[in-house]
């Protein structure tokens, strides 16, 4: 395989071997410490415009499976690993990781000292990076000159509504670049789901007579989204049970006056203890966040902090005091990652049922 380089904004260069697409690609580089689930991570749209470095050394050992996609088309800018498994046969395989990345035009680079890279990013925070063939001055100039788009949500969210019909509660999912796990969990609970673009207006939402609204996960900085999104949240949160996840959680916090801060380094993994405040129980969940709600800006007359990351102290969940509207920063659907937080979807369903009143 061809020698390629991973170059970083700060001038460092790592020699490695290319796999996947031979394209030159630039994005913000982050590291993920998850032990399993590379396919789910690569296809998660939160990584739009990012290059993901895996600390788990062998990636690709079970190929690409039917039921592990978190989006239809991945938009990650690159995959950085120590070792990519060159399998071409597997019990559940469709494609090998290498084949899949080629198809999706995503470059990968292996033989990287990802432990050193993680330590470097831990100190520096996320940086721009490129996967290139030659690490010369030109490449670094190009990298320096690249301005990464701030329209990530527009790039990955659905432009048009689409249904996922079932016979249960009527749920609207506002798509900011959702991961499939959300739809999977709603499906398991027989919810009759309509996915709307993030530009949907309050009126459009209300007209569909939903039992509940989900604000989905998505990539990028919440402040880059139009003000109208916050207005929409403010208008529906006191009328319809609301459940916000990831980027949705950040927007929910903003709609209620809190400010969002950049996390440095970003946090991507599934092994931090998270305390559920109300029960004092500790859970583990899949996390992927470049931003967090600034705890000092929370209006305690409006919002209650419901989950806290015990390692970095970040707010992992919020709830409106006066009505059933709540949010989590982590991914309660897992995929990949622990599954013990999936019952938050049950909580959402029960809130919707409660809001509707008894069935007899």
């Amino acid at each position: 395989m061809a020698d390629r380089y991973l170059i970083l904004e700060d001038g460092s260069a790592y020699l490695g071997e290319g796999f996947g697409s031979p394209a030159v690609s630039t994005g913000e580089i982050v590291f993920n410490t998850s032990m399993t689930g590379y396919q789910e991570i690569i296809t998660n749209q939160i990584y739009h415009n990012q290059i993901v470095a895996f600390t788990q050394p062998t990636i690709g050992s079970y190929g690409i499976n039917h039921d592990s996609y978190e989006s239809i088309l991945p938009t990650v800018k690159g995959v950085v690993v120590r070792d990519v498994a060159s399998i071409s046969t597997n019990r559940q395989r469709r494609w090998s990781l290498d084949q899949y990345l080629k198809q999706q035009n995503i470059p990968g680079i292996s033989h990287i000292d990802t432990r050193h890279l993680a330590k470097q990013l831990r100190a520096s925070g996320p940086m721009k990076a490129s996967i290139v063939d030659v690490a010369d001055a030109h490449a670094f100039d190009q990298l320096g000159a690249t301005v990464l788009t701030n329209r990530q949500v527009a790039a990955v969210a659905t432009p048009k509504p689409y249904p996922n019909p079932d016979t249960g509660l009527n749920v609207i999912v506002i798509d900011f670049g959702l991961k499939h796990g959300i739809l999977r969990e709603l499906s398991k609970r027989s919810c009759n789901v309509t996915v709307l673009p993030y530009t949907a207006t309050t009126e459009e939402i209300i007209n569909l007579d939903p039992d509940g609204v989900v604000l989905s996960t998505g990539p990028g900085k919440p402040q880059d989204l139009p003000e109208s999104v916050l207005t929409m949240i403010q208008k529906i949160q006191n009328r319809i049970p609301l459940f916000a996840i990831g980027l949705g959680h950040e927007l929910f916090a903003m709609a209620n006056g809190a400010q969002i801060m950049k996390l440095s380094p970003e946090h991507h993994g599934a092994n931090h203890p998270i305390r559920e405040v109300i029960t004092n129980q500790i859970v583990y969940a899949s996390q992927g966040q470049g931003y967090a709600v600034n705890p000092e800006t929370i209006d305690r007359n409006k919002l209650i902090t419901t989950f806290v990351d015990l390692i970095d102290g970040t707010i992992q969940g919020l709830r409106y005091r006066d009505f059933p509207a709540f949010s989590v920063q982590f991914f309660p659907d897992g995929a990949p990652g622990p599954t013990e937080t999936r019952d938050i979807f049950d909580e959402f369903v029960e809130s919707m049922q409660q809001a509707r009143g008894p069935v007899w």
């Binding site: 405040v277 029960t279 709830r319 909580e347 029960e350």
Partner: protein, 174 residues
């Protein structure tokens, strides 16, 4: 035949949701007091109180009420027995939340209301139950419901709490 309809996880979740709803409807926890109806209602009230304390960092008074003496379906001599005031805090001015495990005919709650009123004039009284199984005989409804479980009249609902039964869960027995 016994069938578990709510497991410990779901029961925990129901209590969590009731707690949040109490905060929602009372706009906070000022003047809120919980009164559990013996036996299991008391443990449920305590768990809700613990949750409120976790969230709001304030102590909520929890009282216990033994209403066997007040039931209108008890023989007359018991029902007429003199009533001691049972709570160790004043209900006057409080937003009292009565807590019981199962809401059925409503007679227990009526008795509890009688007992409570005997102790002063609360600002308000509302009702939280883990299970509403229907079949009301009085015009009483719950403000906070963990789970609506439609039942046949001859069926029984068994709520288990770790403190008494060694585990959490709700079963239908018929």
């Amino acid at each position: 035949m016994q069938k578990e309809v709510v497991d410990s996880m779901a029961m925990k979740r129901a209590l969590t949701r009731i707690t949040y709803e109490i905060i929602e409807q009372n706009k906070g926890i000022r003047d809120v007091a919980l009164v559990g109806i013996k036996t299991r209602g008391v443990y449920i009230a305590q768990r809700i109180a613990e949750r409120l304390q976790q969230l709001e960092a304030a102590t909520i008074p929890v009282g216990e009420l033994d209403i066997t003496a007040f039931r209108d379906d008890q023989p007359l001599n018991i029902a007429m027995a003199p009533v001691d005031y049972q709570l160790d805090f004043e209900v006057a001015g409080k937003r009292v939340i009565l807590v019981d495990d199962v809401l059925f005919t409503g007679r227990t709650i009526r008795a509890a209301l009688d007992a409570l009123m005997g102790g002063g004039r609360p600002q308000s009284i509302s009702l939280a139950v883990l299970v509403d199984r229907g079949h009301r005989e009085l015009p009483i409804r719950a403000d906070f419901i963990g789970k609506n479980i439609p039942t046949a009249l001859q069926e029984r609902i068994k709520v288990s709490v770790t403190e008494v039964d060694g585990h959490d869960g709700i079963e239908i027995i018929n």
